[in-house]
């Protein structure tokens, strides 16, 4: 079974649990604040259950990957052949790896402030992932940091607070 199938079933279960939790929690709100979250979560739980059953049934049904792909009329626009299970798995981990970059960047902002973190993140990413030459990396980083300062000044933007207090 490929990771997408896992994700689909897992996410449906998670959504079901979330509705259950939200509905349960809603019972503790005062009457006027309760009905909307309560009814929505009851409806959500009631509808995600058949969705989950349908997905489990599809999982057990024989058929290739292409047949199993979840229908989603508005977001499936990728062209090209469907990926094999192995490719899917690989892509899944690649994505997790890049998500790690993003989390790292955000953590770095919290520690060494936005301009420093942005410079480090951008420089490292462009060099390691983008395979840019050093002069271009330097140029890009300088341009980004300059733009950050300019935009912050002109638009009165705020930077996230960081441990070093910038």
């Amino acid at each position: 079974m490929n990771p997408r199938e896992w994700l689909r079933v897992g996410f449906t279960i998670a959504v079901l649990c979330l509705f259950a939790y939200a509905g349960f929690e809603a019972l503790s709100f005062s009457r006027l604040a309760r009905y909307m979250p309560l009814y929505v979560s009851v409806a959500g739980a009631a509808l995600s259950l058949p969705l989950l059953l349908a997905e489990l049934r599809r999982l057990r049904a024989p058929g290739g990957d292409a047949a199993n792909r979840a229908p989603s009329s508005i977001e499936e626009y990728s062209v090209g052949d469907p990926l094999t299970d192995a490719e899917e798995r690989k892509r899944f981990w690649t994505t997790a790896y890049y998500l790690g970059w993003m989390v790292g960047y955000v953590a770095l902002i919290g520690i060494v402030s936005l301009p420093v973190a942005s410079a480090v993140f951008l420089g490292a990413f462009l060099r390691l992932e983008g395979r840019m030459s050093y002069p271009f990396v330097g140029l890009s980083v300088a341009a980004l940091v300059a733009a950050l300062f300019a935009v912050t000044y002109l638009m009165h933007l705020r930077w996230p607070t960081s441990l070093i207090g910038w």
């Binding site: 994700l7 006027l32 979250p37 792909r69 899944f92």
Partner: protein
């Protein structure tokens, strides 16, 4: 009235006032261009400067900015699949696939052209309805506004025809996420886990960026590709304009819809483009290709989101009641300029109102022209490899997300929603319905609550309520049934819209 309009044009056509308008346009385009920043940020940049200005110059500056936000915000929506502001979410659905097919320049050309037409349409509507809009606004009480919110929610049925059940669950998910924070009418704060950040709910910009931008960036990186999948661009801006001209009735329809919905206070601007998208998809032939890069899916919402600004000014000016964050700040700006919005705007202050109309029209033309000039050049961003483009975008959206409440929660929630959005994308869950549910959550609850506490259950039988209900049923049935019956071979719609 027309004589007064000519006088107002003369007032606006002073060089210094035109200069202010150009400055306003420039700010509006830049703010629109930056993903996640919208009209409220633009207003907060400009408001400190309006002190001591004469009213016409101040109006030129503020309206010049507000008019072109939804022109500039088309760039990120089409090019990188990231909503440029909350009013251009629906453009992503078809605009981004077009960019992926290498047709970014064509899509942008069409989008800017129809933005301009929509904006001009909005200005005309503002001019034409100022004196007659009062009864329309007064006809819509809480029950009617609730039904209109339900109409907005019914767009979910249209947007998720592939797997309607997943679409509905996704919308309910959005509704429940939308209930985080304060309840209308009572000081109860829900699902906050005693985290103060959540007391005001999740900001729309953070949710939209998390849901669409983060997953898109991750996938682009993981696929080791650039946005235009063939790495080559086809189609030009002029092609875009030509295609748009072929759909002139669609432009007029969507503009009218956008302006009309803009007039209604209480629904909020960020759902209008979705309604326009849904209605476009419903009312055109051969809509199988919607969501895969049908240019009509760009034309509809883009006409509407510029047209709605003209409409949204109607309640702001004549009732002093803002329909969106941007108009709320505009209202503050007008008060700072010494103009008290209200019924006097069509009497003593008519010249100011008319100069607003003119600024709106001129700024839309100017903004669209500026964007058209740059479009070909900016469209090349879609052939930059993801590993070199995405880090820049991620820095921008992180900074932009943080501006929502200037709290670390913005960034944390951005990542959390980003992961949820990515899972949804991978698992084939439609994300647009979630956004619609989220946007309409508070509105739905508020007007249901008000209707119930005012009328009990009696409101269910109001003729106006039944009329909107009928409209919803017709829209759903008409949209879902014929498509099933007359399924055309796939690809035909794209052929029709391709030059």
């Amino acid at each position: 009235m027309f004589e007064a309009a000519a006088d107002a044009l003369f007032l606006i056509a002073q060089p210094d006032r035109l200069g202010w308008m150009v400055l306003g346009c420039a700010v509006g385009l830049v703010v629109g261009l930056l993903p996640g920043l919208g009209g409220t940020v633009g207003m907060s940049i400009l408001l400190p400067f309006v002190f001591g200005m004469d009213p016409y110059s101040g109006v030129a500056l503020l309206i010049g900015m507000a008019a072109v936000i939804h022109t500039g915000d088309t760039f990120p929506s089409i090019l990188i699949g990231v909503p440029g502001s909350s009013g251009s979410q629906a453009t992503i659905v078809d605009g981004y696939p077009l960019a992926r097919q290498g047709k970014a320049a064509m899509a942008l050309g069409a989008a800017f052209f129809v933005s301009m037409i929509g904006g001009l349409f909005g200005a005309v509507v503002l001019f034409g309805t100022l004196s007659i809009a009062r009864p329309l606004v007064l006809a819509l009480g809480s029950p009617e506004l609730f039904m209109l919110a339900v109409f907005g929610l019914s767009m979910v049925g249209i947007l998720s025809t592939g797997s309607p059940l997943a679409g509905i669950v996704s919308a309910l998910f959005g509704l429940i996420v939308g209930t985080i924070g304060g309840a209308p009418g009572v000081p109860v704060y829900r699902y906050t886990f005693e985290w103060l950040y959540l007391f005001d709910g999740i900001p729309l910009a953070v949710l939209a960026l998390g849901l669409f931008a983060v997953p898109e960036m991750l996938d682009l990186l993981a696929q080791r590709t650039q946005i235009a999948q063939g790495a080559k661009l086809t189609g030009s801006r002029l092609d875009g304009i030509r295609v748009a001209l072929r759909h002139k009735w669609l432009i007029v329809r969507s503009s009218a819809l956008g302006a009309a919905l803009g007039i209604l206070p209480g629904i909020g601007g960020s759902v209008i483009d979705w309604i326009a998208y849904g209605v476009t998809k419903q009312t055109v032939r051969d809509n199988e290709n919607f969501g895969k890069g049908d240019i009509r899916g760009v034309i509809g919402p883009e006409s509407a989101n510029n047209a709605k600004e003209g409409g949204a000014l109607v309640p702001t000016l004549i009732f002093g009641i803002p329909g969106s964050g941007t108009t709320a700040m505009l209202l503050g700006g007008l008060i700072l300029l010494g103009i008290q919005p209200g019924p006097s705007m069509v009497k003593e202050n008519l010249d100011v109102t008319l100069s607003i109309v003119w600024t709106l029209a001129l700024a839309n033309v100017l903004g669209a022209a500026a964007c058209l000039v740059c479009a070909g050049w900016v469209a090349r961003a879609s052939v930059i490899p993801a590993t070199r483009l995405v880090p820049f975008i991620f820095v921008i959206i992180t900074v932009a997300a943080y501006q929502s409440t200037r709290h670390w929660g913005d960034i944390i929630i951005l990542l959390v929603i980003g992961v949820v959005g990515w899972i949804m994308k991978q698992a084939g869950w439609p994300r647009a319905p979630m956004l619609i549910g989220f946007v309409l959550s508070l509105v739905t609850e508020r007007y249901l609550h008000l209707s119930m506490s005012r009328y009990g259950l009696d409101w269910l039988l109001f003729p106006s309520v039944l009329a909107i209900l009928a409209l919803i049923v017709i829209a759903l049935v008409a949209g879902l049934a014929p498509n099933r019956l007359h399924r055309k071979p796939a690809g035909e719609a794209t052929l029709r819209s391709d030059p």
